[in-house]
Symmetry: C2
Subunit: 268 residues, 2 copies
Amino acid sequence: MASEWDTHTALTATADGTHAVELDPGWVVGGGVNGGYLLGVVGTAIAEAVPARPHPLAVSAYYLSAARPGPAQVSTEVLREGGSVATVSAELAQDGVARIRVLATYGDLRAMPDDVATTAEPPQLPPLEDCVAGSLAPEETRRVAPVMERFDMRFDPACIGWAMGAPSGRGHIQAWFRMVDGHDVDPVGLLMVCDALPPVTFDLGRPGWAPTLELTVHVRAVPTPGWLRVSHRTRNVAGGMFEEDCEVWDSAGRLVAQSRQLAMQPRG
Amino acid sequence: MASEWDTHTALTATADGTHAVELDPGWVVGGGVNGGYLLGVVGTAIAEAVPARPHPLAVSAYYLSAARPGPAQVSTEVLREGGSVATVSAELAQDGVARIRVLATYGDLRAMPDDVATTAEPPQLPPLEDCVAGSLAPEETRRVAPVMERFDMRFDPACIGWAMGAPSGRGHIQAWFRMVDGHDVDPVGLLMVCDALPPVTFDLGRPGWAPTLELTVHVRAVPTPGWLRVSHRTRNVAGGMFEEDCEVWDSAGRLVAQSRQLAMQPRG
């Protein structure tokens, strides 16, 4: 059976060389469609444009206007292809209005050298059964953020005080993560995972929607199947903006994706 | 007197709507022109394209081919302008061959809210007089990297063992930084500063040129005049690639720029 993710990112080639896609209403959050989902849709189109280099290595998205559920069009332009990598420009639009513009370099992660030298430490999370399921979120939250229904998230209790009105103030949220239908996340899917958790500003006592200006993801390895661990941190709220650093670790204890986004601070 | 930086990034409008620029040979490093300088040139062109929003907030560069000193052309396309920010696509080319492609969101840092809430810590550096001047680099290094002559860099002795054949292995290089002519760095200039230090892989005992695939810079404040402190770190060498995280702090102790790049590991 096709995964929900494959169904929601399915593209149809059109006569003018673009891809048509139907943005699923299940990814709505606040006033728009989740930015990670949009990036996953664009990332799927890019993979189709450079089939010999199917994996995102670095992807940067600039968000131009809020997307709505329904039809969208994705166009791609290959800027350079040759050697081990390809670089592509892409845009997702609705009715001629650009929603996000993307630059990306793709390669084949399976063909890259497999030596690893890392000093990064995986997120320390209590066992699954001691964590707080996202499905326990209040009815009101889930109404504003249907996107939460796409995931099975188990939050570290030490980072979930904000849900009970007691944010830690450290700027840190982390959770176990998998898709709600149990299907594993592939390298393109990691682009979405990096924008799946609630904004880290919740943990600073600043609830509300935090519009992303820019999100860059580095995918560093093909994830081993199973639960992922996802960590979001911010260190610098300034100029009405904050950075959000995300790490995704796989079930084999490998750092499979790193991202940073610059977002506008919620007005709340 | 004009600064060296202003002279080297001076643009001339051309009849076809692009900008002409002369890439100065003083920015050569290894087999090409320093990527931070290229980004500074493109960043200058973008600032001219959206004059009401003169400061880079987020800038992502994808490197397509090595640039050479001499004539280059910069084209810009405004994707969205309105409210507090503008988003622009830009490209630098030589003789019709694209060198770098850029997406950027610009704004006016002086008009942004001035509250700051940060847990980031500035680099701890010994006083200037106890640091190691970049001008002490061996003749051979300076011949391969004339770009070093553009800067007055004073390296933390704890992070400079690699220059004497004894890298620390921690993946960390930090230094005091200013332009060699003493002119202060402006927000566009910070784009260049984020790629000015030697590759952090030197400190891992992996010397050699590390070609940048992607570099994203967030500029968070207008720097206060004076010496900057610049720190480069890497935590994850994997898949033949490494990430390099850079922070730039100004003389007032403020985090003025954060960047991350994905680069190919030197073959050694």
